[in-house]
Symmetry: C2
Subunit: 444 residues, 2 copies
């Protein structure tokens, strides 16, 4: 064999796997479309650009709420584009360094069998003991869009803030984009075909309600229960026709209606390795039915998160070249939304527990009188944990300030007794001290 | 007995103990000097006002560094004072509600014996099965100061930002004040008599070096190795004469040279319960040598933190009225500094480990290429953990963005094996993911 491992796709999962395998002393090839797309969607056209933009939106909102400092901030949209690119480029340079010793092959990798990848463009066949497919996903587009329509990836190519935007899709990407555009100064309409934002059970209903209120408070128009039928260009505007017969006009339209896995582009459907939705079938070790062929990241399930890809890369590597002591547990992957409020969760939510018919004890601590939250001027929200009868942690949700960080307090405790936490000396003032309060509430 | 518990001092520890005891159904009296001082130093003249001010300072610095948004912020010093008071008052109202059912007695409580407190002012004797002394501490003043000199408490009465300030004392309070005043626009000189800032071993040296650099970058003048000899009023300025013969002039001088315990004010020295530094002697259950008399908070040791007081209140209560399953472990209380950078630590630092002659394995993850830190524009600093030979966590330090929150990732893991953490799916991008990177580094 030419290589120990060939990884197809140099996004979050693929680069993690390649670097890890290299650190084990293995001979590794990493296939990616082009130099430019190295790092994948998260780095180039996903979470990093999105969180960069959101951080400015958050700062703008903090300034609007601030009563001690006064200033009239202006947004330099070109700088927003440039500085965002700079962060991406800096991270990309670090990523390249982490891939030292990995052979990069540019072109489209197509899996031909358990040990063989053909790279279109490079016109090269790579053979390896093990293969890992980490080819990610692409935005789902429900119809042929008129020219100039944006999706959740191409939106980051904008160099100006439009005066008005329709964001189609009230999921994670859509609620994040709606808040960001609104805070930057656009008139924003958010359209969701379901009857609520963030459909599904991965975030607590009470958090979603708070998010919706916060979006409305920011001045976002929210239309629920009305899918998009079609989009028509009308002079300098787009007209979005909704299924309920109404229409919304805006200078820009961003489709954020979901993503589909790229397994087909890597030839996995032809090998019969995909399910009816196009995801690669994998077991708890991230191995496909084709022995020796592994998959990680967006191609394995609808939970399309960079750190799910990192995690699965580790699981697959540990199985392929280690002792196989890691197993994929999707519920233990934290989820997070960075919109007008932050939401994050890990393990079960109250809604997931109900679906599973589990009896849980809940403990909630509000940020309402949390000193740090009051000091930061952002004291809406709460932490909530769910315990089983024996006091073991089944799930955790954070809604409000720093939710995306606070969720990590729960991560190492999943499945463990948390009683001890009730008496730990959490620092005061801190947001984290709400965690120990929530534990006490749950143990009452 | 009239009461089950009499608590002397309604600061952090006293109010926590009174509320907890009440929740157990006990009859409780709580003695405090006045309605106004309810909540103690942390709430009224310590951490809460300080963190409120620091949050504005942090925002000002973020705006100065910001390249996408531009604005010329101005500081309204009167609003700073007012809004700070509002947060204090809101927290105080919540505190009052938590004390429902507790009898408040105003006056100076003096302990007369294991079951008796005399309240001067109220001229009342309170008898109880158990007593808890939680009378806190006061600023130490090395000499009779000239009129108008400020200390780390009275500084919060200022309603303007002075043009120039000398902060005497480079400990936690001093470094925090120096940064805050500087960011608000004052010329600041920070004077520390030791050869380094943050003397002692509770924070890692590498973090202190970063803090000092950050203060210098902000334009704070730092003078080390020169104690204050005396302060003289000179026209509208104060002249601070230092031990090295030099002098610094400023419009305002703030003494932040340490604190001394108030045990003497509660009569504990007369009962022979204090050590040579004035601290109350307590065992691992926070009980004094006088059976039935407990103490918590600033009176027990130089680690004067609100959450140490909360924690000791729980330990004492659990011993006095419960099963006594909690024990006071001072090293497991997190320490934090909110200055030009944030520093936080829990358990051992490298310096404490060295002092104890312990061999440790260290693992460090820098924020330099942490995506979230880069996005927030604050990517200096690191997380570092120390493990023993078996991979159990002995200590943790955080330096940089959100250090005061991130320290809580380590808190529940102290004394435990952390190997599992190396493979947990920490969210990306997040500051917290540096924790799992540090674990991996330590396990290498």
């Amino acid at each position: 064999m030419e290589f120990d491992l060939v990884v197809v796709g140099a996004g979050s999962g693929g680069t993690e796997a390649a670097a890890l395998a290299r650190a084990r002393g293995l001979k590794v090839a990493l296939v990616e479309l082009s130099e430019e797309s190295l790092g994948g969607v998260c780095l180039n056209r996903g979470c990093v650009p999105s969180k960069f933009t959101r951080e400015r939106a958050r700062l703008l909102r903090a300034l609007r709420r601030e009563r001690v400092l006064s200033c009239e901030p202006s947004v330099n949209a070109e700088k927003l584009y440039e500085e965002r690119r700079k962060v991406v480029e800096e991270l990309k340079r670090a990523l390249r360094r982490s891939l030292k010793g990995v052979e990069l092959v540019f072109g489209r990798g197509v899996v031909k069998g358990p040990n063989e990848v053909f790279v279109e463009g490079a016109e090269r066949v790579l053979r390896a003991k093990r293969l890992l497919v980490a080819v990610g996903s692409r935005p789902a587009v429900p119809f042929k869009p008129p020219e100039g329509l944006l999706d959740e990836e191409s939106v980051w190519e904008l160099k100006e803030v439009p005066s008005s935007v329709v964001v189609v899709g009230g999921g994670v990407a859509g609620t994040e984009l709606a808040f960001a555009f609104r805070a930057l100064g656009a008139e924003v309409t958010l359209v969701e075909k379901e009857r609520k934002l963030l459909p599904g059970a991965l975030f607590p209903e009470s958090g979603k309600a708070l998010l919706e209120r916060a979006l409305l408070n920011e001045g976002v128009k929210v239309i629920k229960g009305a899918g998009l039928k079609r989009v028509v260009k009308e002079g300098s505007l787009y007209r979005c026709e909704l299924e309920d017969g109404t229409a919304v006009r805006a200078e820009r339209v961003v489709l954020a209606v979901g993503r589909r896995p790229n397994a087909d582009l890597a030839g996995l459907d032809e090998l019969g390795l995909t399910d009816e939705r196009g995801f690669v079938k994998v077991d708890e070790y991230c191995e496909t039915p084709l022995k020796g062929l592994y998959a990680c990241g967006d191609v394995t399930s609808p939970l399309m998160l960079a750190h799910k890809a990192f995690y699965e890369a580790r699981v697959a590597l540990e199985r392929a070249f280690g002792e196989g002591r890691l197993r994929r547990r999707e519920l233990s992957v934290p989820r997070a939304v960075y919109s007008a409020v932050e939401l994050a969760s890990v393990g079960l939510t109250p809604e997931l527990a109900r679906k599973k018919g589990l009896t849980v004890k809940a403990g909630r601590a509000s940020f309402r009188f949390n000193a740090k939250a009051l000091i930061e001027g952002e004291n809406e929200g709460f932490l909530e944990l769910l315990l089983d009868r024996s006091g073991r942690l089944l799930g955790f949700s954070a809604v409000g300030p720093s939710a995306g960080e606070l969720v990590h307090l729960a991560l190492p405790l999943l499945g463990r007794e948390v009683k001890r936490l009730a008496d730990e000396p959490f620092a005061h003032p801190s947001l984290s001290e709400a965690f120990t309060q929530a534990v006490r509430e749950a143990l009452r």
